[in-house]
């Protein structure tokens, strides 16, 4: 469904990703794990068109999307729930969710869509008419995910959804990710929380210094010596 072939990318003169290849099949939950600065966020921003790769090819549903501007990538149903929530601070929660439906394919039946999404997030429903900036970090993360869901994603990408959240909220976030995947939405998730993420995902890629050093099923990665030593502290 989504394929990256030999991607090189970075910011300005700095190269971050080197020769990154990965693929995500329809209905899968795939994770990219790695340390801070390994290039996980850069990978997602490159997929979504906010960073133009220097080399390599990105294709989605058979179409080459390497050079498309971000809004056109999003229009194809590739939705990113960004790191640090990135809500619209002076909009209400409802307006934030409405922004999720900006993509053409998501504009019909907004009310029904809102009901479906809110059924996953009861807390968000209570906050609908509050300003997004007045919510707690965990609530904001739920709104960010709900906003992504409103876009009817064909693939939903999460960038560090558990970052900065209390442990109990982290497990709620992962529950939501599991529920979203259960509805058939394809998920690509980037996390530093390696153990929990591998428990949720089918397959994983390990990114170190901008390169894919391991790619395998989650069970295999959880048993892998390098992964256990470097990321699980076992």
């Amino acid at each position: 469904m989504l394929t990256l072939e030999n991607i090189d990318a970075g910011y300005g003169p700095t190269t971050i990703l080197q020769d990154v290849s990965l693929d995500v099949k329809e209905g899968e939950i795939v994770t990219i794990v790695g340390a801070n600065g390994a290039g996980k966020t850069t990978t997602l921003r490159t997929i979504v068109g906010q960073i133009k790769p220097r080399a390599g090819k990105i294709s989605f549903m058979g179409e080459d999307i390497t050079r498309l501007p971000a809004h056109e990538v999003v229009d194809r149903g590739i939705i990113l729930v960004p790191e640090g929530r990135q809500l619209f601070p002076d909009m209400t929660v409802r307006e934030n969710l409405q922004m999720g439906t900006y993509r053409k394919a998501a504009r019909d039946n907004q009310e029904q869509r809102l009901e479906e999404v809110l059924s996953l997030f009861p807390r968000v429903r209570e906050r609908l008419d509050q300003n997004a900036s007045s919510l707690s970090g965990g609530e904001q993360q739920m709104v960010a995910i709900a906003r992504g869901m409103m876009a009817k994603p064909r693939i939903l990408m999460f960038d560090e959804p558990s970052l900065g959240l209390a442990p109990i909220v982290v497990s709620q976030v992962f529950d939501v990710v599991r529920q979203i995947a259960a509805t058939g939405t394809t998920v690509l998730i980037v996390e530093q929380n390696v153990f929990t993420t591998l428990k949720v995902a089918h397959r994983g890629y390990v990114l170190e210094n901008g390169r894919v050093v391991l790619a395998d099923t989650s069970e295999a990665l959880l048993k892998n010596d390098h992964v256990r030593r470097a990321y699980l502290g076992i």
Binding site: D75, P82, Q86, P89, M99
Partner: protein, 294 residues
């Protein structure tokens, strides 16, 4: 007492005038984050076109709104697309400021070339006729400007609040990167917003032309005050610009009458300095964080 009421009313009317000029300026700044130093020259261009239409076609000046507003929209949109957008990737934001200063100078000289240094008087079609409200009097044209300013503020707020495009504009203003992730074509929103801001000053031009003589440097006269208004109201806030304009209008009128007309500007700009020192975010100013600007 009547004098005081009259001075107060003059102040309010002046405030309406400042407001209608400042709304477009604050709109562009709030969304595109560019201070358009050519805003006054946009006003001047609109006034000259109003003058041309009124004198050559013999139409009521207000009729030229059908031409001037779309024309100014186009001018604003083109300014963003051809001048500002190529500079947006520049490492230094000041480049955009210099670009609009340059545009301002170019427009003033272009106007001198086309219209000469003479003053162009737009026929006023009775818009300078005073009407009496109780003991005080006001020019009909001034009253229309005041009403138009109120309608414009409300219409813009409704558009920004309730339409899909308006919401996208606010989203871009609040968090450009996140708006992009929602599928918003950010460069297009900038073009649209610059066009809208210029269209607002186009409306101002049509309404002001019958009351003030048009000349190549008329823009500077109005826009300096508009900057004070925009800073007082809080950069980017439309209701802020409106109420800021009323405050400045009242200050201008009261100080002109009770302190001395020579000192009006000193008082107005004294207030400007005080705001910058005491409350740089203005009356209605939102905190301007880096996340707003990135």
């Amino acid at each position: 007492m009547t004098t005081f009421l009259q001075v107060l009313l003059n102040g309010l009317m002046l405030g309406g005038l400042f407001a209608i000029v400042a709304i477009g300026l604050t709109l562009i700044f709030g969304i595109v984050k560019v201070v358009n130093f050519a805003h006054g020259e946009f006003l001047m261009a609109g006034m000259f076109v109003t003058w041309l239409i009124t004198t050559r076609l013999g139409l009521h000046p207000y009729a030229s709104v059908i031409i001037v507003v779309p024309m100014m929209f186009l001018l604003g949109a083109l300014t963003q697309r051809l001048l500002i957008q190529p500079l947006m990737s520049a490492e230094d934001d000041h480049v955009q400021i210099f670009a609009t200063v340059g545009l301002s100078t170019a427009m003033i000289n272009l106007a001198l070339l086309i219209f000469g240094a003479d003053i162009a008087n737009t026929p006023n079609f009775g818009l300078r006729t005073p009407i009496e409200i109780g003991p005080v009097r006001v020019l009909t044209g001034q009253l229309y400007i005041f009403i138009a300013a109120i309608i414009l503020v409300i219409a813009l707020q409704l558009f920004l609040k309730n339409s899909q495009t308006g919401r996208a504009i606010r989203a871009v203003a609040q968090h450009r990167v996140a708006a992009e992730l929602m599928g918003v074509n950010v460069p297009r929103i900038y073009i649209l917003s610059f066009g809208l801001g210029a269209a607002c000053v186009g409306l101002a031009a049509v309404l002001i032309a019958p009351l003030y003589p048009t000349s190549s440097n008329i823009g500077t006269y109005f826009v300096l005050t508009a900057f004070v208004v925009v800073v007082l109201g809080g950069l980017g806030s439309i209701p802020g610009a409106f109420f800021g304009a009323l405050v400045i209008g009242l200050v201008d009128s009261l100080s002109g009458f009770y302190i001395g007309s020579d000192l009006r500007e000193a008082v107005v700009f004294g207030i400007f300095l005080l705001i910058l020192i005491l409350k740089p975010s203005g009356l209605f100013g939102k905190r301007m964080t880096l996340s707003h600007l990135s």
